[in-house]
Amino acid sequence: MNSPDAWMPEPVRVLRRKQELETTWTLELEPGQASKGAFAPGQFNMLYVFGVGEIPISLSGDPGQTDRLVHTVRAVGPASRQLATLRPMATVGLRGPFGTGWPLAAAEGSDLLIIAGGLGLAPLRPAIYHVLNNRERYGRVVLLYGTRSPDDILFREQLDAWNRLPDFDVHITVDHAGSDWIGKVGVVPALVPTLAFDPEDTVAMVCGPEIMMRFTASALRDAGVDDQSIYLSMERNMKCALGHCGHCQFGSTFVCKDGPVLSFDRLRGLLSLKEF
């Protein structure tokens, strides 16, 4: 996106809206002139709601399917709540895609640990599609997914379908659950030591709340995975997505353009700091 005015959105239509969870919705948008074409799994778009403002939302769809731009949004703020109410044929403004993607090319030939917490599964889903579309390029693939409760499990049918695949391991854990839950209970990082993978030849892609990513990265290090092979998708306030508004500056990076996907060796010293 090197248009002369990278600040100006393009109008795009809503094709479909699907409720995923109580407050989480998936919007499928029709790409416009500027936004059609490929995106890298892990990238995000800036979505503009008329009269409210712009927010960064990760792409959550299949990167091989270029006729729609899929975003999964939790309705928590003024803009995201509006986005969640949009009907098919409504228009929003869109700029993007922005940011770095998951290291899918560099990870070819390696084992993959895909680790998500809560809504963090959405920015990882394009990477999962890519891996499944190119399954032969990767070694063992494990998805580890944690949510607060069984009701917060996103893309549940897909998770079940992926779990039935012979060469794709899915582990789900919840922080707490009622007696009708027969799966695992516990936090994501605690499961890392129970997984079978070769730490010398594993790339980990992690997305979730910052505290979950911090403890997960720590568990991965303890298991012998290199800092350079652990990738996190960072979240910070963003206004411009161009590296100019300063809001997402995090240490030596701007999360919008140097990230959101960053290797842990660039984050290590700063993630453990309170309020950095």
Partner: protein
């Protein structure tokens, strides 16, 4: 500074000719003027509008204009304004969204009517600040068109400083007080009991062309020597200095230093330092819609990492405490800025010290951390 293009020595009349020549070429001439008991940057057409005979007294949280015992036109340090407000204005309209046919959005850029500016009296620290903002806002894939338009059209008349303020420390930041490059013309005010004139030197083709139109006399070795003396005297009178140490390493190795708690006790989180800083570039986006709900305009305005909602993500701000905000500002300005842009974000102009309502002095904060540092403790 002897070998920069062509040079000449001009009188006050010559300076007026310079203002006229710039106006004739279509520039909006902006320079220092006295307003609201401070020296600010504003439109300028007559030499008489310059702050003749004024100087300033500056210290932490302290700024007063005082009378000089001469009629120097530039005998003061920088005030609360910087050229940032012209090149990277506090508010810029970006685009307008209109609802057509009930639900279809149409986007239209807001017309950006930036004048061609000529700045009079751009000091070395300020040139350094402009160079830094050039890097931040122009040197990547997404050069900011609003900044670039203003910047590329601007004509810079720089100034070798003849007066260092109480909060100045450009010498220790290696940004001044002498102007080295990046200007169209540079002035040095030469004033003694008998004479008042300016050594003027060109730094660009357009500068040389304008200089050739000004009435003046040949610059002699004596003039160049006098100009060097002016700058050297200024260098010796810096009110502050930044400690000579590896500041990025010092700060990043001391992110949990007790001094951050100490400064947080004093800091009001008012954002003054970021507003007066000539390199702070942060902005936020603002959407305003009309009463009918048919058009909305998106504009950007200066923002500050000291504001509560600056770091807001769903659920709350990343940086709630003043301690974390001050640490954010100072570590970015003096440390991680270097990683991002290859230069410190500080030019030593001293504005953040002078205009801090409680007089927090970042050179003092660095010194305090330096005096009691715990190096290397970081994983």
């Amino acid at each position: 500074m002897d070998d920069h293009g062509v040079s000449s020595v001009i009188s006050l009349d010559g300076l007026q000719c310079l203002l006229d020549a710039l106006a004739r070429r279509g520039y909006q001439v902006v320079g220092p003027r006295v307003r609201d008991q401070a020296i600010v940057y504003d439109e300028l057409s007559r030499v008489e509008e310059l702050p003749a005979g004024w100087t300033d007294e500056q210290d932490g949280g302290h700024y007063r204009l005082k009378r000089r015992n001469d009629q120097a036109l530039f005998g003061y340090a920088v005030g609360p304004h910087s050229w940032k407000q012209f090149l990277h204005p506090p508010r810029v309209g970006l685009w307008q969204a209109t609802v057509v046919n009930e639900d279809r959005l149409h986007f239209e850029p807001v017309r950006d009517e930036a004048p061609r500016y000529a700045f009079i009296g751009v000091r070395a620290c300020e040139l350094a600040a402009i160079t830094i903002q050039d890097r931040v806002l122009m040197e990547d894939n997404h050069a900011d068109p609003h900044y670039r338009r203003r910047r590329e059209q601007a004509f810079l008349v720089a100034l070798n400083c003849s007066e260092a303020g109480g909060t100045c420390f450009c010498d220790s930041m290696n940004t001044g007080p002498d102007v080295k490059s990046g200007y169209d013309l540079v002035l040095t005010e030469l004033l003694d009991s008998d004479t008042h004139h300016f050594l003027i030197q060109s730094g660009s083709a357009e500068g040389a062309e304008i200089l050739s139109e000004l009435p003046g006399e040949l610059a002699t070795d004596a003039h160049f020597s006098a100009a060097r003396d002016v700058v050297e005297r200024t260098r010796r009178n810096m009110g502050r200095s930044m400690p000579k140490t590896d500041i990025p390493a010092l700060l990043m190795d001391n992110l949990e230093h007790a001094r951050w708690d100490d400064v947080a006790e004093r800091c009001l989180s008012c954002a003054n330092c970021t507003m007066v800083c000539p390199t702070c570039f942060c902005t936020t986006m603002e959407d305003t819609s009309d009463l009918e709900g048919v058009t909305a305009e998106s504009s950007r305005r200066w923002d500050s990492c000291f504001n509560a909602d600056f770091s807001y993500i769903h659920g709350g701000s990343v940086r709630n405490s003043t301690r974390s905000r001050y640490r954010q500002w100072m570590t970015h300005k003096l440390a991680t800025w270097v990683d991002q842009f290859g230069t410190s974000g500080c030019v030593g102009c001293g504005r953040c010290i002078t205009w801090c309502p409680v007089g927090i002095d970042l050179t003092e904060e660095v010194r305090a951390i330096q005096g009691d540092s715990s190096p290397g403790e970081q994983t």
